[in-house]
């Protein structure tokens, strides 16, 4: 029985190592595909539309960079994971 336990532990360790290795390989590949297919074209679109969500033009030329905050929302705002 003790032998079975040791073999089981070894198997679990092997499984964890294999899944860790698979994750280390597949995550960058999958995220790389997402990057190339979504973010790179998205960036191109922003350039073509001359839009910069981060407002990086320097100097910006405005008299103030404070922006008005949104007014307090309804009470269900506490339940939302976004404002």
């Amino acid at each position: 029985m003790a032998g079975d336990g040791k073999a089981g532990n070894r198997l679990a360790r092997l499984w964890r190592a294999a899944s860790g290795a698979a994750r280390a390989v597949f995550t960058p590949v999958l995220l790389g595909v997402v990057w190339v297919l979504i973010f790179v074209p998205g960036r191109l679109a922003l350039v073509l539309l001359r839009r910069d969500p981060l407002k990086r033009r320097f100097p910006g030329g405005a008299s103030s960079y404070w922006v008005k905050s949104r007014p307090p929302a309804a009470k269900d705002r506490w339940k939302r994971q976004f404002s």
Binding site: L31, F39, K55, S69, K75, K79, S83
Partner: protein, 604 residues
């Protein structure tokens, strides 16, 4: 109604419990996990808060997280869209964390509550990041109404916010948005000077007085487009945090004379000058922001929070030169305080809970962490193989003061642990600030840290004016002020040219707590807020005529402040302290080197 506030997954995760508007408990996770600035789910802190509040298996009535995760995720995606094809490496680091953890916060909360044996909350609630900071600043403050200014690295999109608090309402009015951030500007210089981001900012602040503001003009001209109202844009060509894993870019290196200092590299006057320069620019921006907040809100008082509010040098200038007649600063101003702010915000604005401003403040001296009874401490000491000396109640402050007066370095462990980054007398190391060489000794042998780092004085509140040009109490060590002129000394000979040389100067009759520019980061101790620590200071004054001691956090290098008696005993043994005053017990290191020699304590 019990409301549990949580902050996590960035740095300094924490939990706080608020009952019907009263702050019951609050603590950072690092104190329990023993990982400095721990960002994981605050499992230990949450369990402590719920048990300290006597919350049964039915769990709290509400659980609230300190920011809106989807807004933050939106900022991450928009940043990626804005910098692609660059930025893939930082995308690769951050995205798995979001997919695995940060997008599933309600599930994580449910799992952790169940694991801790509490019933699942009906749902997890969310406040805004700067709303939580603003709430943590205003609700515990002594003001019925005030302006509120919150400044940090970044929350969801906001990096700074101005609002108004009145009775039970907090209203955020204006904000500045990522990537234009005062906190991140300061962190970029922290990184460039060879300190860890989100940890070394106070080292940079401590380094600043050694330097000259010779780069301040360059920062204003090249990096920051600053407006009269304190709003600004950063020139992102000089920063790396949008598309890389570094805070600064190669262009930044070229502007400031070479690559960043390595963490273990020598500290030169370049770093000191950079620190002084960015400190000066930071103070200028904060003062402008405060003036704008005053004009926008028409209020005469200010509440302050966010990581930048821990910059006590800037706070001191705000107090002296700013437009407000009174300022209150949240002692846990960093993200840890967001847990408390979120819970308070939901009580007052989500549940329409009433608020009554408390004279002083409602933070209970920031003593909101765990405590141990005298019997528990005695049992733990004996289990650890220590035979402590027990001191009767009235004699205890005199015994502790006697050790300090003998030139010994004493670990002080009493009562509830502090919430926030400062040790205020309950988890502190104290020593005689008048002893020549004490600062070098504690920096080198006890804390094992850089020699330039200053120490703070803890001074009797009623006698602070004897030592410092301080106009108002500073109970949370969040203000600096100058040591009084008559106490300052001019060192003989020419002033050293290096940081190390200047750090060895003894500049007043309390040299261990006098910084190189004659300033001190002050903690005023009142009888009302901490009677035990006040009694030690009063006894020390009676014995020596001096009403202050050096007070630094009770921790070893790169460790969080001690939480439990076991932590305290371990740190006492490893850090080379002379004595440990823990509850009613005193443990002394018989063999420890001490200027006053062995005083016949009990061997540990």
């Amino acid at each position: 109604m019990n409301i549990l506030g949580l902050s996590a997954f960035y740095h300094d995760s924490a939990a706080a419990l608020v009952r019907d508007g009263e702050i019951i408990a609050a603590a950072q996770e690092e104190r329990f996990s023993r990982k400095k600035h721990d960002a994981d789910f605050p499992r230990g802190a949450m369990e402590y808060c719920l048990r300290a509040g006597g919350v049964g298996p039915e769990g709290p009535d509400a659980v609230i997280f300190y920011e809106k995760p989807l807004d933050k995720f939106d900022r991450l995606l928009e940043t990626c869209f804005s910098v692609a094809p660059r930025g893939f490496r930082s995308f690769l680091v951050s995205m798995p964390l979001w997919l695995r953890e940060k997008l599933w916060i309600p599930l994580t909360v449910e799992r952790e509550m169940a694991r801790a044996g509490f019933k699942l909350p009906r749902e997890t609630l969310f406040s805004g990041h700067h709303e939580a900071h603003a709430a943590s600043a205003f609700y515990p403050s002594p003001f019925e109404r005030s302006a509120i200014l919150t400044v940090d690295g970044v929350g969801e999109w906001a990096t700074a916010a101005i609002g108004r608090g009145e009775d039970s309402q907090v209203h955020v009015m204006e904000e500045m948005r990522f990537p234009h951030s005062l906190g991140l500007l300061y962190s970029a210089f922290t990184y460039f000077c060879g300190f860890r981001v989100n940890d070394g900012e106070y080292k940079l602040m401590g380094l600043a007085p050694y330097g000259k503001p010779s780069y301040a003009g360059t920062i204003r001209e090249k990096l920051v487009d600053l407006r009269e109202d304190g709003s600004f844009r950063l020139n992102m060509e000089y920063f790396g945090y949008l598309d890389g894993l570094a805070m600064t870019s190669q262009k930044f290196d070229a502007l400031f004379g070479g690559p960043p200092r390595k963490m273990d590299g020598p500290l030169t006057m370049r770093e000191a000058d950079l620190a002084r320069s960015v400190q000066e620019v930071t103070e200028d921006i904060l003062l402008r922001m405060a003036r704008h907040a005053s004009e926008l809100t028409g209020e005469g008082r200010l509440c302050l929070a966010g990581g930048v509010a821990l910059n006590c040098v800037a706070n001191g200038r705000l107090r002296r030169e700013g437009p407000f007649r009174d300022i209150w600063i949240q002692p846990a101003s960093g993200d840890a305080g967001g847990a408390l702010g979120a819970a308070l915000a939901y009580w007052h604005m989500g549940c329409d809970g009433p608020r009554k401003a408390v004279p002083g403040d409602a933070m209970k001296g920031a003593f909101l962490g765990p405590e141990w009874t005298d019997n528990e401490i005695g049992d733990i000491l004996r289990r650890e193989g220590v035979s402590p000396r027990q001191v009767a109640g009235a004699e205890w402050p005199r015994e502790v003061a006697k050790l300090v007066a003998a030139g010994r370095v004493v670990g002080l462990f009493q009562g509830r642990m502090e919430f926030g980054p400062r040790a205020l007398g309950n988890r502190s190391i104290i020593a005689d600030a008048r002893v020549p060489g004490m600062r070098e000794r504690i920096n080198a042998a006890v804390k094992r840290r850089e020699s330039f780092r200053p120490f703070a004085p803890a001074v009797l509140a009623e006698g602070a004016g004897e030592y410092f040009e301080l106009e108002a109490p500073s109970p949370y060590m969040l203000l600096t002020a100058q040591v009084r002129k008559e106490r300052l000394r001019e060192p003989a000979g020419p002033r050293p040219a290096s940081v190390d040389g200047m750090a060895r100067l003894e500049l007043s009759d309390i040299p261990a707590v006098t910084h190189v520019d004659g300033s001190a980061r002050i903690q005023t101790v009142s009888r009302e807020q901490n009677p035990d620590f006040h009694a030690v200071l009063a006894a020390f004054k009676e014995m020596t005529g001096c009403g202050l001691v050096l007070n630094t956090s009770f921790n070893a290098k790169d460790e969080p402040i001690v939480c439990s008696p076991v932590d305290a005993l371990r740190c006492f043994r490893e850090a080379g302290l002379d004595d440990l005053a823990i509850g009613p017990y005193i443990v002394s290191r018989v063999t420890a080197p001490s200027p006053a020699g062995n005083i016949g304590g009990v061997s540990s």
